[in-house]
């Protein structure tokens, strides 16, 4: 059978769990996931019909929906959102897939280091990074423009960050990092014999990439694309900064506007938020249709080769190209962010005594720093740990079992993305107080962990699922036949193969916990404040430079955790080339 043949199958052949307690456990898992996911979604939908202002009696009606979709600027905001999302996802996908392939499948020099550089770009906070790019690319005072205009043949500014392409570029610096983060582990799980078979049939290296590798990687590519589209729809910070001055509004700006009016207008905001559900349904339906028609097994019982593709004479030119991309999207913003922490006024080089250590001194002597760092680590590790275990379990049930509700469980795991990020904290707040089930956790770090666990569920489950789809069932069956229990099979066969993915899932959960503001503001307390709130305290007081110190420290914290995770993962996971 040619490696490029796809096999049509109506049901995946999975590892059949025949024990009754296992079925009960799966049913319990299903119930818990349904409760955690459907309750906030239901409350969001319910409140889209609730017209009473905060503090007033509850009144139901359709006025919120009429107000939301009657706004003539909604269509242009939606168009801007779609065009920005499609443009940057298209560019990032093409470049990201090639980068992931080069890092995971070839003999590129220093590829592990390059991969980590891309990870770092993903860990950097978006607002200070955007301000850094403004400092470089502003058409009036941007440093890069000023340097270029010093050349005799350049009269006008070459770059303008306040533009459609400026927004695309600033987002690209994190989008590429996400693509590499998500796709490289999946690419590593490709058996090299599939590529060798293709080349021995006469296909070129690039031909093999497009006709063998990419089709087999489609589950991971689709998940990363859906993640990218949803995040693009939710994005508003950079659009506020760079789009508002040029009259470019996006969908989430409209939602945010309504939530931040005084008094807030939740009914139209939540009505607008339902657009996310529509988009998600369409994307998920497409993904399930595509994945359901084919098999994507690349790790089978026939042996697994990790030989990489030799780039030959292109090795070093490609290395320099990848390095240039990596350093552009990572080190430029890191330098800008780091510089900002030592400036008296960020971006002002001409004021007297522009440099200072005072920002660091002030932050390091902040009495709330240690508490915030401790809470961040506790919430981050708790969310990451719980996430890795439960998302792995959910993905396993969906892919590897014959549990009757697995299709619905899969769909439920997507649903947290149906609630835009800006409304998720609100949805969870309503869940806590209107159901009262979780009231005993209110104000504690555990509620924050739970909230962030729900938020990260689609990503964690789908990425783990895309890797599980690559693993053929005969590996577990062979272990079972040899007398291994389910736990032994999971620990000795699946876990090493899933470890790189779990590291990524854990890190993204950790980072989400470290950076989240909207959830912490609505559900946190004085005792559970995190580094994100500390950074907000400084930024809100006009002390952007000190906020940058906290953001820089948070990024370092995440990078250190990432390095530790990679070291531990390297011992647990399968050995790569």
């Amino acid at each position: 059978m040619s490696p490029t043949d796809t096999v049509r199958t109506s049901r995946p052949r999975g590892f059949f769990l025949s024990l009754e307690p296992a079925t009960l456990l799966m049913a319990l898992l299903f119930g818990v996931v349904a409760l955690l996911v459907l309750t906030p979604l239901f409350l969001i939908l319910l409140n889209s019909f609730q017209l009473g202002r905060p503090g007033e009696p509850i009144v139901y009606g359709l006025e919120g929906w009429r107000q939301a979709f009657h706004d003539p600027s909604i269509l242009s905001a939606l168009w801007n959102t779609v065009s920005l999302a499609v443009t940057r996802q298209a560019i990032a996908l093409v470049i990201g897939v090639m980068l992931a392939w080069l890092i995971a499948r070839t003999d590129l020099p220093w590829k592990n280091s390059l991969e980590f550089v891309f990870w770092v770009s993903f860990f950097l906070p978006s607002l200070p990074v955007a301000l850094g790019w403004i400092l470089l690319l502003d058409d009036k005072f941007g440093l890069l423009n000023r340097w270029l205009q010093a050349l005799p043949f350049i009269k006008n500014a070459v770059f303008n960050v306040y533009s459609f392409w400026g927004i695309v570029w600033v987002h690209m610096t994190t989008t590429l990092g996400v693509k590499v983060l998500l796709l490289a582990p999946a690419f590593r799980n490709l058996d090299a014999t599939l590529e060798e078979s293709s080349r021995s049939c006469g296909a070129s290296t690039l031909g093999t990439v497009f006709r063998v590798v990419i089709p087999l990687m489609m589950p991971a590519i689709l998940v990363s694309t859906i993640l990218g589209v949803i995040r693009s729809m939710e994005a508003f910070e950079i659009e506020l900064l760079l789009g508002v001055p040029i009259g470019l509004f996006v969908y989430s700006t409209k939602i945010r506007d309504m939530v931040t009016y005084e008094p807030p207008e939740y009914a139209p905001a939540t009505a607008l938020g339902t657009m996310f559900l529509v988009v998600l349904l369409a994307l998920v339906a497409f993904q399930r249709w595509y994945v359901g028609r084919r098999m994507f097994r690349t790790v089978t019982g026939r042996g697994f080769s990790t030989r990489v593709v030799a780039l030959g004479r292109w090795r070093w030119p490609v290395f320099w190209l990848v390095a240039l991309i990596a350093f552009s999207v990572t080190f430029t913003p890191v330098i800008m962010l780091g510089m900002g922490t030592f400036m008296r006024a960020f971006g002002y080089f001409d004021i007297p005594n522009p440099w200072t250590l005072e920002n660091w001194q002030r932050v390091l002597s902040d009495p709330y720093l240690v508490q915030s760092a401790r809470n961040t680590i506790v919430v981050g590790l708790g969310t990451a740990g719980a996430g890795v275990v439960f998302y792995g379990l959910i993905a396993y049930v969906v892919v590897k079992t014959r549990f009757a509700g697995r299709a619905i469980l899969d769909f439920l795991s997507w649903l947290p993305w149906a609630i835009p990020g800006i409304l998720m904290g609100l949805a969870l707040l309503w869940t806590v107080f209107q159901t009262r089930v979780l009231l005993f956790l209110y104000g504690s770090v555990y509620l924050l962990m739970l909230a962030l666990f729900i938020k990260s569920m689609p990503f964690g489950v789908q990425i783990t699922k895309s890797v599980l789809l690559q693993i053929a069932p005969e590996l577990e069956e062979a272990a079972r036949i040899s007398g291994g229990s389910w736990i032994q099979c999971y620990r000795r066969i699946l876990l090493p193969l899933l470890t790189p993915t779990f590291i990524v899932v854990g890190l993204v959960c950790f980072m989400s916990a470290a950076r989240d503001i909207s959830t912490v503001v609505l559900l946190g307390s004085a005792q559970s404040r995190t580094m994100a709130l500390l950074a907000l305290d400084y930024a809100f007081g006009g002390q952007f430079e000190r906020g940058s110190v906290v953001a820089f420290m948070t990024s370092i914290l995440v990078i250190v955790i990432a390095m530790l995770a990679r070291m531990i993962g390297g011992r647990v996971g399968i050995g790569g080339h």
């Binding site: 905060p54 006024a345 007081g541």
Partner: protein, 361 residues
């Protein structure tokens, strides 16, 4: 008989009345303080920002030994939380320190506050002579929301390398053709200093809706982030900025960035008065009622107001609190238009409709 009784009662009252009153408030204060220390903690919701956090926690803790559980966020971020809690019968907050907008439009209609007057014990707080305007200003029926720091706002900000701040004598100078396309503004369609400025324009008898319509024809560039607004001005991208957060600009001025606030006293129409985040109230059903009383008395005392006003860059309504930390023109002028009271809240609804129409948002 009555006359004889009065003859010796009146001098007795004059002689001993004050000390009787003093004994009464001191006794009450000691009783409340003792109960407050037993409660051990006070939960305060206040504005986000290191300055507010520092001024609303440690000084009180150092003085009374009562821990402050402080949570900072904007009023509009805290209001859904507080409303959800109260609806579920879950009461976690004692003292409110935020702006008047959230207080008047969300909290008071929801019955979240209780009358302040019965909680005010210290004579330096209750004494009318200690406050500008002859007494602490209380908003809301029953006196629910105290206005601690009404100050004259800055409304026009300029880059001093490009514009002489003394050039402006009236807001109508902004309508000159030379400023077309060169002025940035804090987006007035959303709550914030931009909207407060446009509310002032709307309320001023010599400006009004016509002025707003004329100003909209100057191709104003809308910005939303306060730091970006100050920096675009400081870097000279826009020579003039209308309505932004004073404290952000003042910080940049202290950092010697070439920015200036146009003195409203040189403008024919002046500027509006607002307390920004300097309003305070007591929550109904507070979990620590005695600690809340001690806290509110401290916050409104000279001690509390000195810390708060100085750290936030505001002007306290107390006469005995220094104003040296900010511009002298920030002291409110008599008769200045208020953009923080109930009337202004009602007008803001009309202003929002108008600015959305003229700026097409």
């Amino acid at each position: 008989m009555l006359k004889r009784w009065l003859l010796w009662m009146v001098p007795l009252l004059v002689l001993f009345g004050p000390s009787l009153g003093e004994a009464a408030w001191k006794e009450e204060w000691q009783k409340v303080l003792k109960a407050a220390k037993k409660e051990g903690v006070v939960a305060v919701s206040g504005p986000a920002g290191v300055q507010s956090r520092d001024s609303l926690t440690k000084p009180f803790e150092d003085k009374y030994g009562i821990r402050v559980n402080f949570f900072g966020a904007s009023g509009r971020e805290l209001s859904p939380r507080i409303m959800a809690e109260r609806r579920a019968g879950h009461y976690t907050w004692d003292v409110y320190v935020h702006g008047t907008t959230t207080g008047l439009t969300v909290m008071i209609p929801a019955g979240a506050f209780k009358p302040l007057q019965p909680a005010l014990i210290l004579p330096e707080v209750t004494g009318a002579k200690n406050w500008r305007g002859g007494g602490l200003e209380l908003l809301g029926k029953g006196g629910l929301l105290a206005v601690m720091t009404p100050f004259q706002r800055g409304t026009i900000f300029v880059n001093t390398n490009l514009v002489d701040p003394k050039e402006f004598k009236s807001y109508k100078d902004l309508l000159a053709p030379k400023w077309k396309g060169k002025m940035a503004v804090d987006d007035p369609t959303k709550p914030g200093p931009g909207q407060a400025t446009f509310t002032f324009f709307y309320l001023h008898p010599e400006l009004g809706a016509d002025f707003i319509r004329a100003l909209a024809k100057q191709d104003l560039i809308m910005l939303r982030d306060y730091t970006t607004q100050a920096d675009e001005l400081g870097h000279g991208r826009y020579p003039v900025l209308i309505g932004t957060a004073d404290f952000v600009v003042e910080r940049r001025i202290r950092q010697q960035v070439p920015i200036a606030v146009v003195n409203p006293r040189q403008l024919k129409e002046g500027s509006d008065v607002s307390p920004a985040n300097g309003a305070a109230a007591l929550y109904q059903n507070a979990p620590h009622p005695n600690a809340a009383k001690v806290y509110i008395n401290w916050l409104l005392s000279k001690d509390g107001q000195s810390y708060f006003a100085k750290n936030m860059g505001y002007i306290s309504a107390r006469r005995d609190v220094s104003t040296d930390h900010t511009f002298p023109w920030r002291v409110p002028q008599p008769g200045a238009i208020k953009t923080y009271d109930e009337h202004a809240m009602m007008m803001k609804k009309k202003v929002r409709v108008l600015v959305r129409e003229v700026f097409r948002r």
